[in-house]
Symmetry: C2
Subunit: 260 residues, 2 copies
Amino acid sequence: MVYDEPRKVRELIRRGELSRPTCGLAPGYAQANLVILPRELAFDFFLFCQRNPKPCPVLEVLEPGKYEPVLTARHADIRTDVPLYRVYKNGALTGEEKDISSYWRNDLVTFLIGCSFTFETALIRAGISLRHLDEGKNVSMFVTSVPTIPAGVFSGPLVVTMRPIRREKVVRAVQVTSRFPAVHGAPVHIGDPAKIGIRNLAKPDYGDPVEVKDDEVPVFWACGVTPQAVALKSRPPLMITHSPGYMFITDLLDEDLSVL
Amino acid sequence: MVYDEPRKVRELIRRGELSRPTCGLAPGYAQANLVILPRELAFDFFLFCQRNPKPCPVLEVLEPGKYEPVLTARHADIRTDVPLYRVYKNGALTGEEKDISSYWRNDLVTFLIGCSFTFETALIRAGISLRHLDEGKNVSMFVTSVPTIPAGVFSGPLVVTMRPIRREKVVRAVQVTSRFPAVHGAPVHIGDPAKIGIRNLAKPDYGDPVEVKDDEVPVFWACGVTPQAVALKSRPPLMITHSPGYMFITDLLDEDLSVL
């Protein structure tokens, strides 16, 4: 079985034949975070993303009720083409689903938000190894003391990912990720975790801890968990997201998301 | 009188003491196109801009009824700080105003969209002269045969600006403007105007004609007139914009808008 073409992978997912995390599927193509909200919250959420592009890099937004992307994946169906969804009601997780067709309403607005898989691939190609991948772990994520810029009903702290980078590779890591602003882009902080309100690198708020060795520097990037955390805080009557690691696979090449 | 600081320039404009085009004011700071629309059209217009970032690079959007920018110009007032506004009703120009406070409503949504002054400054600094500026003219603008990506009620052709660039400087012009995606960015077309549906470079649809000499190539960039033209086509009950050349001066440095 070939898992190379995004369209074919999405078809397998749609038919329920590929229920796994999407890391490694359709290599070279960009994957996206999914946030679906009712129309009455959509404008404010769109504003929040525009004001906070590092944690919330918008790849595409669909008109209310639409479930076929026009920019990132023609002929896809947002209700069926993600392997696992999470459904939240009034801010509480009520279930995980493989298909959200039965939840669909004409007032639901879909946001596709850039995911760090793209820049991690670029880092690896630049000879910068990533410990969480080497060890088969989830990346470490931390809630910081850095506020996002509020918009309408949405506000909350910036969530970041941390990757230990060898001291002599830090500048290169900044350069490589700067080329990908649509997938979180350049780091938001380099070095001392306390400066952004992180007390203990061994105790991430989400994901798994990884060691930071003596010749390494902790480097922090804005994280796509931020918009989900901020949206949940507002307790929307209905919100649907992808389940962590089970992303939406787009037709965009990673390189389509680069600047220069 | 010093016209260097954006805040001070905006104060003079607000008091009616500086009623002139903004080109050359607050040098080094980014200026913005203004589009104000009623709330019921704002989500679709925001979507249109997200899908067409080259002609419609959004710098900031304000919540309905808000007139103080939070990202681009704290303490400014969008109703008074532009030297000249245009008011349209049902798609028809009904007047030019120096102050739109009397039109203000709690459902109006303000969009600030990047303007090419920033990248023109960068081109000049890179030793690329711009004929329309040398000759004190407005840049040539053309309606193309290239469609934008529709969003909701909004659709229409891409409008471009044309600048003649000396053959040996074309690559440099691409490089320099690529650094500024938030102000239209890299060209959309280089060379033969007919390829994008332009018949006669001597007859622009907007602005003034300029000569293209034998050792020059016509280079085309997406133009901020596009979103205004597209919005007007939908005949919104009320739409307010800046008057051409009378822009909103932000507190952002030109360099704040660069990537890499």
